[in-house]
Structures are given as C-alpha cells and as structure tokens.
Chain length 360, copies 2
C-alpha cells in the first residue's frame, strides 16, 4: 500500500527501514526459530538485543559511565510520579519550570509527593515564550530543577539546557530526545517516553546519575524504584521486551543516519523551511517566539479558522495526514520527528502554498 506522510505527534511515524526489519524478523529472529515477541526476557537472545540497544544509545548520546540507563514500562506520565518518588531524597521541595501543557502535567503529579515551587512560567505569554533564565526563581533547597525540553502541544523548545544553580537538573525529553546532541553530564536525570523518536509507546528511557538513586520514598512501587531497576538491569519486573527491541532498531537506524549531529542538521533544515513557509504568508501563522520554536512540533493556524476542516480533508487526500492540533488548543500541527523524511516536509510546504493560492 502507498505510504502516506504521517504528522502525528505520537505514537508517530517510524522509519521505513525499521518497519521493514521488524516485519522481516516476524518470520523468526535469526536462527532461533521464534520471534522477538516470544522471547523470554531472561534468555541470552533477548539479553543480547537489550544490551546492544543500551550500548548503541550510550554511544549516540555519549552517556558518561556514572549514569544508569533504564528501560521501564509506562511512558513519561509514569515518570512524572517516579521522578519525585526517587529524587526527593529526604527533601520536601522541588522546583519546576512551566512552559506549557506537559510541564503543567508534570507539576500536578509532583504535587502528590512534595511541595512544588514553580520557578518560572510562560503562562502570561500563553506559553508562546520561555521566561529568560535570569528571571527564574530557583529555591536552593529544592531537591532538583525540572523542565520540559520540548512542549509537544505548544511547540516550544529549549535550545540549550538551562543553568541549574547547582541543583540536579531533570529534563523531560519525550519529544526531542535523540533529535540533537545533548551534554548528558549536565543533567541529574533525563527521561523520555519512546513513542516519538524511540519507537513504541509503553516504554520510557531513564538516564540517571548514579549518586542520585537509592533513596526512594517509602511506598514507592518496586517497578518505579530506580535503584532496584538499575541493580536488576531494568528487570525487577518483565520489561516491555518488544518495545525495547524496536528501540534498538531505532537507535541502530539513527547510527546509520550518521548520529545525532547529522540528524540535527536535517531536523534544522526541515524546521527552518517549514517555519519560513508559515511566516512567508499571512494566511498561516505560528504564535511562538522564534527563539524557542520547536524543531519537532510545529503548531500553526489559518487566518480563517473555518478553513481548517477543508485544509485537513484536502491534505489527507494529498497523502498528508494527522495534522490536527491537540484537542486542548485546536488549530493545526505538524510533528516532524527524526523519522519524518525531508520530502514529507517539502510535500507539506507545497500543499500549504497551493492551498493558500486557491483559498487565500
């Protein structure tokens, strides 16, 4: 069947070679006579798959040796709870920066476990900007400073990790991990759900500096306990093996693309040309401060909102699908993760110009 361009925010498009490999492996994995779906997580075949995925991820992100890498069931929402449960470490307060919908979710969940200081908020600008770092008020007694590296819905992205004033810096990188190089050593903890740049939903990757673990709050569910998961190779419970395998295919593909610098260059080209197309015509608009526009999620509006429905219908006809904005904000949105080919962005831009010509 003809493949379309899938601009869904997650679960989202996967690279064609990854799908092809997964399909081929469903005939049976190597000479085992079974598929990866049927492998015991304790058997040497799966252990090999898991270790290679972990090693490739370490290599791509240049993760220092004093960081643990965990593959855990559930996505970022589960980590919204796991992070304070593990990282409060006897303190009572945590600091969060709010840059939109997902920051607010993380804050609400953290409030179940401790006092949350909101160090800065983009709310006044309706989350179209990020308050400059010098204006942040970070409590030195907080257990950590948390921010959302990319807001999938609002389309706001940090272009560099903020200064943490000596606190452990914690980042939700669900929607931009592996899209650019990151200096992991600046972080206490990085977490990301997998369904954008790492494959299938139901899996989160957690990268945590080892001195921060081991003091989980009483009442922390065992499967959420980073120390136990680190000690048992993410196998306190049966891990989501198939999603881990797909994560391995994703990082392998990324290495074949030339690694993070190469994928970043492509992501910059894709984003720049799409924003340029939006800015060039008053028919389209993106409200975000250009300095913090997301390379991954590009929300936009039509000057005449009544044209959104025909826009979506005609785009779908043209093989450009899932361009609806999030139900909380409306409008339109193009998610252009690593796996979205540059041709997909070019096709969207051509369609947008043509639609404006006919309807503008």
């Amino acid at each position: 069947m003809a493949r379309i361009y899938n601009f869904s925010p997650g679960p989202s498009v996967l690279p064609a070679p990854v799908l092809e490999k997964a399909r081929e492996d469903l005939r049976g994995w190597r000479s085992t006579g079974i598929t990866v779906m049927e492998m015991s997580h304790r058997g040497k075949d799966f252990i090999g798959i898991a270790e290679k995925a972990t090693a490739d991820l370490r290599e791509l992100l240049e993760i220092p040796q004093n960081y643990k890498v965990l593959f855990l069931a559930g996505g970022a929402s589960a980590q919204f709870a796991a992070v304070p449960l593990n990282l409060l470490r006897g303190k009572t307060k945590v600091s969060y920066v709010s840059t939109g919908y997902w920051s607010e979710k993380a804050i609400a969940e953290a409030r179940l476990f401790g006092e949350v200081q909101v160090s800065a908020s983009g709310k006044e600008s309706n989350f179209t900007t990020i308050p400059p770092r010098p204006q942040w008020n970070v409590d030195p007694d907080a257990a950590y400073l948390h921010y959302t590296a990319n807001e999938t819905i609002g389309g706001v992205e940090f272009q560099a990790a903020p200064e943490a004033d000596g606190l452990p810096l914690v980042a939700d990188m669900s929607s931009n991990i592996l899209s650019r190089p990151v200096e992991v050593g600046r972080f206490g903890l990085i977490y990301a759900s997998a369904q954008k740049n790492i494959g299938l939903p139901g899996l989160a990757v957690v990268i945590v500096r080892e001195d921060l673990i081991g003091q989980a709050l009483p009442g922390t569910p065992s499967t959420f306990d980073y120390r136990r998961q680190a000690a048992e190779g993410s196998m306190v419970n049966t891990p989501p093996t198939y999603s881990w395998y797909v994560a391995g295919l994703m990082v392998e593909w990324l290495k074949e693309q030339g690694g993070l610098k190469a994928i970043e260059a492509r992501n910059i080209r894709k984003a720049e040309k799409l924003y340029a197309a939006i800015d060039a015509l008053p028919f389209y608009s993106n409200p975000v401060d250009p300095a913090v526009r997301s390379r991954m999620n590009v929300p936009f509006h039509l000057a005449d909102a009544a044209l959104e429905t025909p826009f979506l219908a005609e785009a779908k006809e043209a093989g450009l699908a899932y361009l609806e904005g999030h139900r909380s904000v409306g409008g339109l949105r193009a998610s252009i993760y690593n796996a979205m080919p540059e041709e997909g962005v070019d096709a969207l831009i051509s369609f947008m110009r043509e639609f404006e010509r006919k309807r503008g």
Copy 2:
C-alpha cells in the same frame, strides 16, 4: 525458518496466525497508509482497534456490565502495587493466600501500603499443595482477599475460585487467564500481565467491579488510579497501543478456536497427557499434589539431576526449547499456554520417552 516448539514461561509462544497477521499489518493497516505502530492513540483507527479488543475480551470472559476493563502499561508487578493502592478504601488490612513465588511477591509489595494478613500458606509443603479452604483464616475486616490463580514457577493452580467470605475476591490470573471459563461475577478484581495468553509484555489487563474504585490512597500515581483510567478509557497516559493491538489479535484468535470452553478442553488434554507421561516413568517426577497441578506450567525433575544439561541440549536439537526451570527452583519446566499446539506437547512426550529409553 523452521519454527520450534517454545516452552518459555513468558514472554512465550504466540499463535502462528497472530504472528502472520501482525507481519502482514506491518505493510500498512488496511487503507490507512501507516502501520498500527505509528497510529495516534486518539485517532479513530486505533480507537476502533482498542474497542474491538475490549469487546471481544468482554464477550469471551462474559464480563458483566458493572465491571470496567482496563489496559494498562506495566505487567502484574505494577498491579501488585496498584491493587492495594486502589482497593484499601480506608481500611488498613488486606488478606493474601500464599501459594508460591508470585504470591510472595504480591505480598511483599502489598506490605508497602498496608498490613498483610497471610490467610493461608502452602509453604509447609514447599508449595506443592494449596491448604484446604476450611483451614484459611480470613480477617473479616480485610479490604479484600487476594490469591494467585496459577503459580507459573511452582506449577500450582486453583481449579476453582475460592469462597471469599463476603470480601472482594482479587485474583492474579497472569498465567492462566483465558485458558478456561471464569465466573467474573464472583470477583472484585482480576488482573493479568499479557505476556502469556494475551500477547506482549508491558501490558496488564485489569477487570474491576466498578463499586470498588474511586478511593485510591493519597499518593497513588495517576497512571495507577483505576477510577481515572476507567473514566478516560485507559488513556490517562498514552497506553501501550501496539501491545493492545496484539491483545486484540489474541482474543480474536481465541474466538476462532471456539472460545474458552473449547480452549479449556484442549488445555486439559495437553496437561493430562504430559502429567501422565511424567507419572508413568520413575525417571521423571512432578512434586505437585495432583488435585492442584497447573494446566499451564508443568515443572518436572529428572531422577538424576546431572542429566538435566544433556536433556536440555538434546531437546533443543529436537526443536523443543526453553525447557529450563526457573532460576529460583531449578529443574525443568514446560509452559503450555493456549498458543502451544497439542503437537508440541506430543513431541515433548515422545522426546521424553526416547530420552528415558537411552539414558534411564
């Protein structure tokens, strides 16, 4: 490649037609132009897949209308925490029956959240029997009575749900759900990880009577909150969509097999002939009280333990794999879930007889 017979305890063998359908769908799902792996959980295509899986499961298990069915990230180990977090409902005590390794795990986790009364334990018999129901001591003030319907490691299975003395009855059915009919109306809650009879790991199915939810303990992670998950169709967070889809293929396949009575008849035949083969030769032994032997997991020993290594090696040569016992107990084990064809059991029995003839 030639498929082997995979006796792994979980993740475990899947039906060949399910694998074939999954493989075919990786070309693209129907006319969407994308695969199920790439579908937004909020889109109508995935919602259709999820609703059909849920409806098929309801039909197979004849789940009454006053029960919610949830598809949650994580497996049974996550539910070991979620069950007391949701079902304590202002009480302080819970009652658990211990029948082996997995009961003990569930008990240890429940102790993080409340006082656990062990109503009965098979420990004195080294977990080869289940204490008769009249000997159980069930506290009438307990929030619920929990038991493990099938012990995957010890090979002990309840042949009927126990009387609960008016308490909500809670069962971990991870390794025998969908292997036989169950009278759901007798239970307060049934949970099961998916990686035996429902497909891929990283997913748990929870079936809960609706009057029991809505009183989760303070500090319950949102993704563990049954009320919220029930209200939002298991989408408080992005669910493990691909595992949910495979669960749908599994229940569809089960319906094609004739439903639970038909699969039960096949499971009885498979188990009876395998136990008969073990009992017929002093060379093999199974320690479990015949009244509570598991139809799903058949542990066995060789009279001469030194022969286990050659047994495993020669079995593998003969296309019979993953027969190692659990690392906590050693010995051998054949897991014969729904997806293990009767021919696989026949092949194992032939091999066992032949091995005994040569080495006995």
